[in-house]
């Protein structure tokens, strides 16, 4: 289905109808615009991450996962390295996390991206609605800056090999 290997795959997750949960797809769309015309970058925004994305990950040289975080302080932006991990709980019907997706890519396709980063923004509210909370709105410039840096770092990592 794909003929070229993405140098940097952006993989966002979130429901745009549930307040701050939609920050992942919003940032993904922003990055897609920011890197438009750069064929090395591919963006996929989904409501939930599902197992079949393991193939996209296996075919990418680097991956940046983008999500909101219910565990972080509202509006706090974090970038961290992600490593493959077994499921720590019974997996939900459709949803798998970034570490489990990397694990699936490794188990099924014997392939892992050279770099995998997770960019998160702490959620203030995930109530019904398409607006972000004040904390998340205020964090958008910083989130965009760190996401841009993450993508550029991943492209560097991909081109250095």
């Amino acid at each position: 289905m794909k003929s070229t290997k993405a140098r940097c795959l952006l993989l966002a997750c979130g429901n745009t109808l549930r307040g701050d949960d939609g920050i992942g797809p919003w940032l993904c769309a922003w990055a897609e615009e920011r890197f438009s015309g750069d064929s090395r970058v591919e963006a996929i925004g989904r409501q939930q991450w599902t197992p079949e994305l393991a193939l996209d990950i296996a075919e990418a040289e680097t991956v940046v996962f983008i999500d909101c975080s219910a565990a972080s302080a509202p509006g706090s932006v974090s970038v961290q390295e992600v490593r493959p991990a077994a499921a720590t709980q019974a997996l939900g019907t459709h949803h798998v996390g970034a570490p489990e997706l990397l694990n699936l890519a490794r188990e099924l396709y014997s392939s892992l991206p050279r770099a995998a980063l997770l960019v998160t923004v702490g959620a203030g509210s995930m109530d019904l609605g398409e607006e972000f909370s004040h904390a998340v709105k205020a964090a958008i410039p910083e989130a965009c800056r760190l996401l841009e840096k993450a993508v550029l770092d991943c492209l560097d990592a991909a081109s250095s090999c």
Binding site: M1, P51, A90, T93, E100, N103, E107
Partner: protein, 474 residues
């Protein structure tokens, strides 16, 4: 002292439900109920909307089988419009519905049920998931992912979206098929055959080891219903309803959508938000019947495609008459996927498939219309009434999971009676009770999402609320 066992929520299902098992003073299972604990209300909030909005509105019922809702809804609207859609549009819809069936069956078989089949009902619950399958049987995991992507990609190519495509509209489809898309789908067919063959061969190797489960997984006589063509081959998008009895004799045939109320009634129970469909002449609950892959294979004489016909013949060897155990829904699902791939290939060979005439237009010509289609998990009926302006004044949806509701409840009771011994149970027992429900692949609500953890709790509770035993899966 009587007790109650509660499984809440039941895992690896589409949506949210729970199971309650009632024990008597001797610790024997007296009753069991499968509760669907979420309420949707689509029939009510559709009222007042223009009828032509209904397909895209109704598709939101489900994130796994929106195409079936699109098709059934569009057909109900076309009954209101009194139009017959162009041949090419009908073929394109058929292909879309088959693609959805393939991806949905792949989800059910590989993601939800293969952990039980590949790793065992008693295996470590932390590993009993798609990651565990990937570690133990990577070739099976790859096949599952590839087949799901196959179906999803066809839906995306035809409808521009993997989920909730807006391509199907009252009167046909919005756009004809482009040659490049046809060629892209055709190029995926050989891999789809190879992956399906791998899965089918693997299933046949392990199926016999689950004979004890098959004996008590909703293994009882019932009626079976589904859509069928005039030549008695399987049909997912058009055709008419056939009902057969427990001996395989046809009791109703040629039932088109407007006549479904003559044969199908719906009952309500206080413990579930899902209705309980039944065959009217036998009443409720005696008129319990099953729909979906097992039922479809039981009612048809052929699949209408060469490879699947060979598999159907083998499937029918499982019983002398209808195959009764719901465990064999798994087998039936694989046969249907094979048929889906073959049929998609055949549709693309239709010389008229690139025809530009794919839509009929009309306004309101009738004040009532009904449409039916086969969703992956069973027959789906949409029935609408409109006013002179075409606004919906009444809607009723008969959904597959409701039609399997009686059988699921009866199946849970059968398995609980077999496995729960004097009030004692293990995690493996709990999993088998859930696995009975998984065979039906019920769709409680695919479009409803849950936040956070979904712990599984099995509790023994006395009538005064005291928890005497508890098993927690987190």
């Amino acid at each position: 002292m009587s007790q109650t066992i509660t499984i809440d929520p039941v895992t690896r299902l589409e949506g949210h439900g729970k199971v309650t098992i009632y024990l008597n003073d001797k610790g024997e299972v007296e009753n069991a109920q499968f509760h669907v604990t979420q309420v949707r209300g689509f029939e009510r909030f559709a009222q007042g909307r223009p009828f032509y909005e209904m397909p895209s509105l109704m598709a939101r019922i489900c994130g796994i089988c929106p195409v079936s809702h699109l098709v059934a809804s569009a057909k109900a609207c076309e009954a209101i419009m009194s139009v017959r859609i162009p041949h090419t549009a009908a073929q394109l819809r058929r292909m879309l519905n088959l693609a959805q069936m393939v991806q949905s069956h792949a989800l059910s078989f590989f993601y939800l049920s293969s952990p039980d089949l590949a790793l065992g009902m008693e295996s470590d619950p932390k590993m009993r998931n798609i990651l565990g399958v990937a570690a133990a049987k990577p070739e099976l995991g790859r096949a599952g992912i590839a087949l799901r992507r196959f179906g999803q990609h066809i839906i995306e190519l035809l409808g521009d979206k993997r989920i909730h495509p807006g391509w199907v509209i009252p009167g046909g489809v919005t756009e004809p098929l482009a040659p490049a898309k046809r060629d892209e789908i055709l190029a995926m067919i050989p891999d789809a055959y190879a992956n399906l063959s791998l899965a089918l061969n693997w299933y046949k190797q392990i199926a016999d080891s689950f004979k004890p489960e098959a004996a008590v997984f909703a293994n009882f006589p019932s009626l079976y219903m589904g859509l069928i063509n005039e030549d008695e081959s399987i049909e997912f998008t058009d055709g008419a309803l056939r009902l057969i009895d427990a001996k395989g004799e046809t009791v109703e045939d040629g039932i088109l959508a407007p006549r479904y109320t003559e044969v199908i009634g719906e009952a309500v129970e206080p413990y579930s938000y899902t209705k309980f469909a039944y065959y009217k002449p036998l009443g409720y609950p005696e008129g319990s019947y099953r729909v979906g892959p097992l039922a479809r294979l039981n009612i048809v004489k052929s699949m209408g495609t060469e490879k699947a016909d060979k598999e159907l013949a083998e499937f029918k060897q499982l019983a002398n008459g209808p195959v009764e155990s719901s465990f064999y829904y798994h087998h039936a699902r694989l046969v249907e996927m094979l048929h889906g791939i073959e049929k998609i290939e055949a549709i693309l060979a239709d010389p008229k498939i690139l025809d530009k005439h794919v839509r009929a237009t009309a306004g309101v010509n009738r004040l009532e219309g009904a449409g039916q289609a086969e969703a992956p998990r069973g027959t789906l009926n949409h029935h609408y009434k409109v006013d002179e302006d075409g606004k919906i004044v009444w809607a009723n949806l008969v959904i597959a999971t409701g039609q399997n509701n009686n059988a699921m409840n009866k199946g849970v009771l059968q398995a609980a009676k077999h496995y729960v011994n004097k009030g004692k149970f293990t995690e493996g027992v709990l999993n088998r009770v859930e696995a009975v429900i998984r065979t039906f692949d019920p769709c409680l609500s695919c479009s409803t999402h849950a936040y956070g953890q979904m712990p599984l709790v099995l509790s023994l509770v006395t009538p005064d609320g005291e928890v005497v035993d508890q098993l927690v899966r987190s």
